[in-house]
Symmetry: D2
């Protein structure tokens, strides 16, 4: 079942701290910063488990305490409710660790 | 260099939430509980990185959202400043995730 | 949906390296050893992702390069096909890392 | 203590599978591919522990089963023996998981 496509503009309004991606794809992006590498990677580990559970995976870049995330849904050719859910999970966890 | 042995009694007084272990060894123990398995395992991942950095490792048991930890320093045959440091790291992180 | 209960005896025959647990429950157990703590914890991380995906979690104990696992299915009051699947995942990964 | 700068050209010759980075910095890069996301992230976890132990961290990008790594040593303004060591650790582990 393909999830509902909502598009980057609507997703960015529904979330806080996310922006439209700069690529040609319909995608959203956010940079997270943590106290150190340990906390950044603990964040990534919990997100990795959520992603595997959802079978929906981020594109992400990490260096030290920074994690840059890009979310989109390939099957829907744009941002969907899956991306909203994964973004919300990240936001809640980052607030705790922040 | 062997770290200073302080013993379980002194360690338990210096920390909050830790008890003397029930084994024959001089050791301290604490049970951590989290919202779910993801947060328990994210906690374990950050602690694993700290442990590897210190070259000082916990004995720990996990089931779902619970993590039971036992700390002691084999080389010193009892609880040392290394255990205090690792316990303090766990306590700080668990408070954030709690 | 409750998975099929197969029992520890049948599970131990179907697997290699697993034993019946020593507790009162119907359960299976295996000890894994790795080169070092990093590989033990990398193993645990992949298993944690599989467990979360299956919504079926191990009871496990770790110290340094050793991981002791106990598997059973609480809802079925014994060993089921879920435990077989998780055990098989662990065995395949441990062979790679071994 | 600043580690010895060896430069990307020499590093690429000493390693197998690594290339000079395309950025302006003196850096080396390699793309790793695994069977699936679980194995990619287990790889990242072991590498994260090694990185924290060395206090020397990669820049890396992940999507699903792919991990793109860039290594350089900021303090030395180029590739050093630290990068060789971390690259070698990654190569050994990736061979096991591959």
């Amino acid at each position: 079942m393909t999830p509902d496509r909502i598009g980057a503009d609507a997703a960015v309004k529904a979330l806080a701290g996310w922006s439209k991606g700069q690529g040609e794809r319909d995608e959203i992006t956010r940079t997270f910063r943590f106290d150190d590498f340990k906390q950044a990677f603990a964040f990534m580990t919990a997100v990795a488990m959520k992603a595997e559970q959802m079978d929906h995976h981020p594109e992400w870049f990490n260096v030290y305490n920074r994690v840059d995330v890009v979310l989109t849904t390939h099957d829907a050719d744009g941002v969907t409710t899956l991306d909203l859910e994964l973004a919300g999970f990240m936001d809640t966890l980052a607030r705790k660790l922040g």
